[in-house]
């Protein structure tokens, strides 16, 4: 059972939560016992069920503690399966959460949702402005994970979260793949899940970097140029992906750009394999710009940024137009902070009467 704070009213409770550094700096929904229990009920699991220890504080993440974060973040009970999945994913030992929370690098868990949960637990946006404001589920789910990382994991800026500057995705960073407008099989099927599964994939990622490409249907090599600019953006010589290497990378294609590859006869696998080939740097460049990291890597005349095409997460999302997005990553930690995917156990979750309204 979580410790209860007492306050004369919600405004005073909010000030207490700010004072105890339990917020992300923005107002939160006060996690009253009734609201938290309602969220626990939505999970279909026991409040005391332990999901794992969350670093760097090694706080014990129970269903109830996660529910507290979900309430504070403004989640509807419907969102709980995705929040639970995201928490489970970052708690996977391979994710290197404690190290990631403590690093000086600017990294935040990007939550990618595939499958029916995009609608059933949302709707979670994957179209225009999916990473921007205005999408309640995206905003609240990503924020719930962040609040869990603050309050269970103990991340406090300058003390245990040593990000030198951070980035706005550390408030919330969640989107769905736009499977309906993608010419490719969905991301989760490439990661070994069935098409009908609902899957959360979490990857520690920098802020999104825009990649501009104006499509030229008269150019038979248009897809090659698009591949090249994506590779330049994803692993430019200032990134950890270039200098530390062997970590994850994220490419978010807008539907138009995805179609360029499909029209060229490339499927998801072909695109990531080609990107994997293109994302490399010469020994001379690495010696010039990353001498400190030379011993961390393998390579003779060329240093590959990715050691396996599967390290590149490729998904389709966003509106149609000129811009796709890439997110370089941290690439460090014991396991190089890889992406982790978790199938949602949607059968266990309970529909709460009236849960389409704001928390009571």
């Amino acid at each position: 059972m979580s410790k209860l704070l007492r306050a004369p009213d919600e405004a005073a409770a909010l000030e207490l939560l700010h004072e105890f550094e339990c917020t992300d700096g923005l107002p939160v929904v006060i996690p009253t016992d009734e609201r938290v229990q309602r969220m626990v009920l939505a999970s279909g699991m026991d409040a005391d069920l332990v999901l794992g220890a969350m670093g760097p504080a090694q706080g014990v993440a129970t269903v109830e503690k996660v529910a507290v974060s979900a309430v504070m973040a403004g989640c509807l009970p419907d969102y709980m399966p995705v929040v639970m999945g995201a928490v489970k994913a970052v708690l996977h030992p391979a994710f290197d959460l404690a190290e990631m929370q403590g690093t000086t690098h600017c990294t935040a868990p990007l939550i990618i949702v595939n499958g029916p949960a995009r609608q059933d637990c949302g709707p979670i946006a994957g179209g225009f402005g999916a990473l921007g404001p205005g999408h309640r589920a995206n905003a609240a789910i990503g924020r719930a994970l962040r609040l869990a990382m603050i309050n269970i994991g103990g991340a406090r800026p300058g003390v245990s979260d040593m990000a030198l500057l951070g980035h706005p995705g550390k408030f919330t960073y969640c989107l769905a793949e736009d499977e309906e407008h993608s010419p490719f099989a969905p991301l989760h099927t490439a990661r070994g899940f069935a098409l009908e599964d609902s899957v959360v994939t979490v990857v520690g990622a920098e802020a999104p970097h825009s990649v501009l490409h104006a499509i030229d249907a008269d150019d038979p090599e248009d897809h090659l140029r698009l591949l090249e600019v994506l590779a330049i953006g994803l692993t430019n010589l200032a990134t950890n992906n270039a200098l530390i290497r062997n970590g994850a990378g994220v490419v978010v294609l807008n539907p138009d750009h995805a179609q360029v590859f499909a029209d060229a006869g490339m499927d998801r696998q072909a695109v990531v394999e080609k990107l994997c080939e293109l994302c490399r740097h010469s020994r001379a460049d690495i010696e010039t710009y990353g001498r400190s990291f030379m011993s961390w890597s393998k390579g003779d005349d060329w240093f590959p940024c990715f050691y396996d095409p599967e390290q590149i997460l490729l998904l389709t999302a966003g509106g149609n137009g000129l811009y796709s997005m890439v997110m370089p990553t941290w690439c460090a930690g014991e396991h190089n902070n890889p992406a982790v995917s978790v199938a949602l156990e949607v059968d266990q979750f309970c529909e709460i009467p009236g849960s389409d309204s704001a928390p009571a």
Binding site: R156, V159, S160
Partner: protein, 68 residues
């Protein structure tokens, strides 16, 4: 390493001292030996790093072999 009984000492720069305290407490090893270094050390040049190393070497040895 310390948990396995291997003598260990953490070298922590001034800027990261509070993080070192936090992690040591979180891992249940609040008394893990730590030595405070100036910040920064990395990238300050071989001459400075040698100076820092010479200054802390006795304390590192003392921490690794207490009572020796």
């Amino acid at each position: 390493m310390a948990r396995r009984g291997v003598p260990a000492v953490a070298l922590v720069t001034e800027e990261f001292w509070s993080q070192g305290d936090f992690v040591a407490r979180s891992l249940g090893m609040p008394d893990l030996p730590r030595i405070r270094l100036p910040h920064p050390v990395a990238g300050t040049g071989k001459a400075n790093m040698r100076k820092v190393a010479e200054a802390i070497a006795p304390r590192v040895l003392a921490a690794l072999a207490p009572g020796a």
